[in-house]
């Protein structure tokens, strides 16, 4: 019961709405433009990095939590954030080191779990 009381329901709603809107934009891009999913993916990361770099994306993260960090734009923002912080500590070299350093957990986890999934799962034909 205490656990449920501790949940911030407003943040959860914000998370749901912001994450959902980011996905809806992606869906519209697939349906209405000739962009391939791979290009949309790259656009999302790039836009996230730009918005993160100029400080706008952090406001979205404060508002929506995981709704802003989990989508690909969050990965881009994290790259930018890491790069900026590293520049402060290490100078210009940090721009090349910081981004990947800050995202290292996500990247390594993606490789690790992707590998595990490829061992136990087999891709199937699509239903539609």
């Amino acid at each position: 019961m205490e656990y449920f009381q501790s949940i911030d329901w407003m943040t959860m709603l914000n998370c749901f709405i912001v994450g959902g809107i980011l996905c809806v934009i992606g869906q519209i891009l697939i349906d209405k433009t000739k962009l391939t999913p791979a290009r949309i993916l790259v656009i999302y990361v790039t836009v996230g990095a730009i918005l993160g770099g100029i400080g706008i994306y952090q406001k979205l993260i404060d508002f929506a939590g995981c709704g802003a960090t989990v989508p690909l734009t969050g990965f881009g923002a994290n790259l930018a954030k890491g790069a900026l912080e590293a520049v402060k500590e290490q100078g210009l070299l940090g721009a090349f080191i910081g981004g990947v350093k800050a995202s290292a957990g996500g990247i390594a986890a993606a490789v690790f779990f992707g590998y595990i999934a490829s061992l136990v799962a087999k891709p199937k034909i699509k239903k539609q």
Partner: protein, 334 residues
């Protein structure tokens, strides 16, 4: 054999299509034509380790079914014309490597089946051959992997994209006193109007279908009413509508007796394939399964079969090249 006009050959010793066979995959077995196919396979791997192996098995089994139905042994086949969508036509060469039949590997993208029928009929018309085998295959999963994105990526398909048919079709040509006979062939020219979207093949191929359709009518002096059915390979819903409109501008009204294999093979409402079927196996299975039986039953006496192909690969589409289309036609009559 006589050349008519610019593109068409009229065959004097028209080969008869002795028999056909078709085997399809899980999506096709739930489609409206399921009962016409010889076999429906529920598992897209068909017990194999990869989709490529499965596709080779499709063509191998279809060829052996066709030979069995035509009551012709593989020693009595002079040449086989086969092709598919995978690089270097590996499905066909791997599927046919144990058969000991002289082999021509063809690539005409989704038009390959009719390209094979064209070449096979000319070999038959020469009088030197007893039997010719034509076969093609395609597989949804192997085609997505090669031409679009690997299925592991879980990408969504765009609204204009077509569904590559999983399966294989084969036809045995021979000499016989009864039809259906291949009477004319009209190989097509490459037509490229600059469509670049690899997910909109129907629009890219429709102008090629129009070119071959018009050439066939001009060369033979026939008109659309001559045929009981005019069937294109795999233009899908979009391409079908485009071709009807384009043909009208050239003065041919084909709306009443025209249809497309990519439209026929799936149920538009229930199966959500977006823009219909495609692939080398689309025209091959629909002809071998459905249209051939319609001809034997007398429902279609004169058929103009036009298979369309998009002559593209993943490198050219990544480099932003447009999609050259091609269409080959055969006139099949009882």
């Amino acid at each position: 054999m006589k050349k008519l006009g610019k593109q068409t050959l009229q065959l004097d010793n028209s080969p008869s299509i002795l028999n056909t066979a078709s085997i399809v995959g899980p999506k096709e077995m739930n489609g409206p034509l399921a009962k016409y196919f010889d076999k429906c396979v529920e598992d897209e791997f068909w017990g194999e380790a990869s989709w490529e192996k499965a596709e080779s098995k499709f063509i191998k089994e279809t060829v052996s079914t066709a030979l069995g139905k035509a009551d012709v042994s593989s020693q009595d086949i002079d040449y086989v014309f086969a092709g598919d969508l995978l690089n270097q036509c590996i499905s066909s060469s791997f599927g046919i490597r144990d058969s000991n039949i002289p082999f021509f590997g063809l690539f005409g993208a989704c038009s390959t089946f009719v390209e094979g029928l064209c070449l096979g009929s000319v070999f038959m018309d020469s009088g030197a051959c007893k039997n010719i085998l034509c076969a093609t295959s395609s597989h949804f999963c192997s085609a997505e992997k090669q031409f679009r994105f690997p299925l592991e990526l879980g990408n969504q398909r765009t609204p204009t994209s077509q569904w590559t048919v999983t399966g294989s079709g084969a036809a045995v040509l021979g000499k016989k006193d009864s039809g259906p006979y291949i009477t004319h062939i009209t190989p097509g020219m490459i037509v490229d109007l600059g469509i670049k979207d690899a997910n909109n093949m129907g629009a890219a191929m429709a102008p090629a279908a129009l070119s071959t359709l018009c050439a066939h009518f001009e060369d033979t002096g026939r008109n659309p009413d001559y045929y009981d059915a005019i069937i294109t390979g795999d233009l899908g819903y979009l391409g079908k509508d485009i071709l009807i409109d384009l043909a009208k501008t050239k003065g041919y009204d084909i709306a009443s007796n025209y249809n497309d294999c990519g439209v026929l093979i799936f149920d538009k409402k229930k199966q959500d394939t977006h823009s219909g079927g495609s692939g080398c196996a689309c025209v091959a299975t629909v002809f071998s399964g459905y249209l051939y039986k319609m001809m034997l039953e007398g429902n279609i006496k004169k058929l103009l079969l036009i298979a369309t192909g998009a002559l593209t690969n993943s490198t050219t589409s990544q480099q932003g090249e447009s999609i050259p289309g091609i269409a080959h036609a055969v006139s099949i009559e009882m």
